[in-house]
């Protein structure tokens, strides 16, 4: 039924000369478009929207996962806001955003800007090596870094070998340095992604732009801000989106390296979701944390893309 109607409207559109009055201008969306997106939309609804809706519903109940749940309205959300430990966890997530997103983007920008001024032999090789951390499973990365950070692990051995004994410490057991130590692993993982994205972006910049800038007397810094940075706007937006999401949903790294310790100095919201749902049987509360986290990720990524779009307009 819908198909025949759609076919007719297509036929009608073709029968009219393009741009002739009355009908829609060419290129305007038509209802038939919904048919095209239907398969993907169904999958989206089935595996994303329904579970999300279910999580929202769960977050309004006090439920241990087994017995009949009790409706508590927004109480779980009030608890999320009031819970000091949870606020600390969101604070840790903010620190992790610096390590996961801000640092890798800044360092990658600096590296890429340098690379544009010098021809580098074996670029493909370096690109692959830098991208490897992205390909390796996070659990493997975490296990490896746990050993690197061990009290008698390679990092401390190196520090002691060069006479920096004072800096050697049990990194993951140190109340000040555990969070930065975990965060640095994120920097290491995300850096490759940023560099590869930015290198791709830079390769699209026509050489004439650099030449023009140099003819106008721009130095390396000026060149970076007037040529490279504006051209990379979209890549930066993509890199920030991906890395911020990675920082906020960080679970495996913390689970394997510190389990939130020492004390509670590396707790993160995703770990709280897991703990509440599977360890202490507070499914409703876990869902509330998860929904809050989802909303936060949505707002942040939406903001990032908005800023990038507005800048380019």
């Amino acid at each position: 039924m819908a198909t025949t109607a759609a076919a007719r409207s297509v036929a009608l559109a073709e029968a009219r000369p393009p741009g002739a009055g009355g009908g829609r201008p060419p290129g305007e969306p038509r209802r038939v478009a919904y048919l095209y997106i239907l398969p993907a939309y169904l999958v989206f609804v089935l595996f994303l929207l329904i579970p999300l809706g279910r999580a929202v519903v769960l977050s309004l109940y006090d439920w241990n996962g087994l017995t009949v749940a009790e409706w508590v309205g927004l109480d779980n959300y009030r608890e999320v806001v009031a819970d000091e430990g949870l606020r600390a966890a969101f604070g840790h997530a903010a620190v992790l955003i610096v390590f996961y997103a801000v640092l890798p983007v800044l360092v990658a920008l600096a590296l890429v800007a340098t690379m544009t001024r010098a021809r580098l032999r074996g670029l493909g090789f370096y690109r692959t090596v830098l991208f490897v951390p992205q390909v390796v499973a996070m659990v493997v990365v975490a296990v490896a870094w746990r050993q690197i950070y061990a009290p008698d692990g390679p990092l401390n051995q190196v520090l002691r070998a060069v006479g920096l004994d004072g800096l050697a410490r049990a990194w993951l057991g140190d109340f000040t340095f555990a969070l930065p130590a975990v965060g640095f692993v994120g920097t290491w993982v995300q850096m490759g992604l940023c560099i590869v994205l930015f290198l791709a972006g830079v390769s699209k910049i026509p050489r004439e732009l650099y030449e023009a800038a140099r003819l106008d007397g721009a130095g390396p810094v000026r060149e970076f801000f007037t040529v490279v940075l504006p051209a990379l706007r979209n890549e930066i937006s993509v890199a920030l989106t991906l890395t911020v999401v990675a920082a906020l949903r960080n679970f495996d790294l913390v689970y394997v390296t510190t389990r939130g310790g020492p004390g509670t100095s590396t707790t993160v919201p995703s770990y709280e979701v897991y703990r509440r749902a599977f360890e202490i049987g507070e499914v409703g509360s876990a869902a509330a944390v998860a929904v809050t986290l989802t909303a936060m990720i949505f707002v942040l990524t939406f903001g990032i893309t908005r800023i990038a779009e507005r800048g380019s307009a």
């Binding site: 919904y34 519903v57 996962g65 017995t67 009949v68 009790e70 140190d174 004390g263 049987g281």
Partner: protein, 453 residues
């Protein structure tokens, strides 16, 4: 303008989903409680009289000796009672933890399951009436005589699942486990120390080892839970076992801020100051530390008997095991429990057969098979022949501590949130971030909020 239909479609979709999902979670089940088959007053204990029965059994006996003993026992059971078919579903512990809850609430629930003792597993299943009390079977099979009280306590709950450690029996287990002290005999000989018989001698031995430049107590606590076990070994010297049980089972009437608890917290802080533990223990892993102990680093290792097989393989005749030595004149007390107890589900239609199976895999003959596979039998451990001296020492220690009712529960069982509370607070106290008083107050806050004190 053209964005509007787009948005309404999305909104309509969301609404539909919310409406579809908007029924209280958990009530779409047929109320499972009503279906609980009441064990008939005259319990049939002869499996050959039960007709053709199929029992679906979920266990987590998947590693080495564990798998062998359960396979042997299942085969023997079926040979003896051909009318009963055992359908075994074996899963790793983590896998079992993740799937058991769904399986029990599903349409095709298993008949016999291994359920973790903790409040969040067994306690929740009791509350939801997914597993049945076994008291009548305990009477019929004499489990009360076979299993010492402190062993039965770790699988006992009140009918509402709130009180842990007493009430009805919900499961029985095949193997025992406890936190004791492994030691390196060669190191002791080198240092000229006798095996400590009392806590005082143990403390002296730690000091001697430290002075001699050895690592007295290897300890890796980045994983957070090992600290709870080490702390328990110290706490059990200072706090009477009844108080430890009330605290560990989360029952009213005890007090974390009592002077003897303070003494324990200060004593373990003293260990840190004296440098008895691994340097940087809060950042050291549990596995590397015991592996190093197996390679000859460290004199004493406070750890669970689950390390026995691995340490035996590494140290051989140099490995020794003892209960944490009690103070002069005090009875032996150790933190411990059983392997996961076997419980009978309420979905099961043949509770008699299920109970008969559980009895079969925990009777005296079964215990011999458990011991033969290098595991600690939950009862009759003393009489079993062991394959190594350390194993013999573990068996003897288990027999001693259970026969004198000296087994106390894991401290993190106390309340649903207690694991996180004590794990974090202990790391902070041992790391010098908070005082023993602040540490105990954190524990007391969690405990009293739960027991309503």
């Amino acid at each position: 303008m053209n964005r509007l239909p787009h948005r309404t479609a999305l909104a309509a979709g969301l609404l539909a989903i919310l409406a579809a999902a908007a029924c209280a979670p958990g009530d779409d089940e047929e109320a499972t409680g009503d279906q609980t088959p009441e064990p008939t007053s005259d319990i049939q204990t002869d499996p050959s009289q039960m007709g053709d029965v199929t029992l679906v059994v979920w266990d987590q006996e998947v590693r080495g000796g564990q798998a062998e003993q359960i396979e042997t026992l299942n085969a023997q059971f079926q040979e003896m009672y051909p009318n009963i078919t055992i359908e075994r579903v074996s899963r790793s512990f983590d896998d079992l933890m993740a799937t058991l809850q769904l399986a029990l609430t599903g349409d095709d629930a298993p008949d016999v399951v291994q359920a973790n003792n903790s409040r969040s597993s067994m306690g929740a299943f009791v509350e939801a009436e997914l597993i049945i009390p076994l008291d009548e079977y305990a009477d019929a099979y004499g489990w009360d005589e076979r299993f010492p009280e402190s062993v039965r306590a770790v699988a006992s709950y009140s009918a509402d699942g709130v009180t842990f450690g007493e009430g009805s029996l919900y499961g029985v287990a095949q193997q025992g486990e406890m936190v004791g002290v492994f030691y390196n005999k060669a190191k002791l000989a080198e240092l000229g120390i006798e095996v400590p018989q009392t806590w005082e001698e143990f403390l002296a031995a730690l000091e001697t080892a430290k002075q001699a430049g050895e690592l007295p107590l290897p300890f890796g606590n980045v994983d957070q839970w090992p600290g709870i076990h080490v702390y328990g070994a110290v706490m059990n010297r200072d706090v009477p076992p009844d108080a430890v049980r009330d605290l560990g089972f989360g029952r009213a009437g005890a007090d974390w801020t009592s002077p003897d608890n303070l003494a324990a917290a200060q004593e373990i802080s003293g260990f840190v100051e004296a440098g008895y533990f691994t340097d940087g223990f809060n950042g050291a892993g549990y596995d590397p530390v015991w592996a190093d102990f197996g390679n000859g680093t460290g004199v004493f290792l406070i750890a669970g008997t689950w390390l026995l097989a691995d340490l035996d393989a590494a140290l051989g005749d140099d490995l020794g095991f003892m209960l944490p030595p009690p103070r002069e004149g005090e009875p032996p007390v150790a933190t411990g429990a059983t392997s996961l107890p076997f419980a009978v589900t309420s979905a099961n239609e043949h509770p008699d057969a299920a109970a008969a199976y559980i009895d079969f895999i925990t009777n005296a003959d079964a215990m011999t098979i458990v011991a033969e596979n290098g595991l600690v039998p939950s009862v009759d451990a003393g009489g079993q022949s062991a394959q190594s001296t350390a194993q013999e020492e573990v068996f003897a220690a288990w027999a001693t501590v259970t026969s004198q009712d000296g087994l106390v529960p894991y401290l993190d069982w106390a309340t649903p949130t207690f694991y996180d509370t004590i794990a974090a607070a202990l790391q902070e106290m041992l790391g010098g971030q908070i005082t023993p008083e602040e540490y105990l107050q954190r524990l007391q806050d969690d405990y009293s909020a739960f027991v309503g004190g």
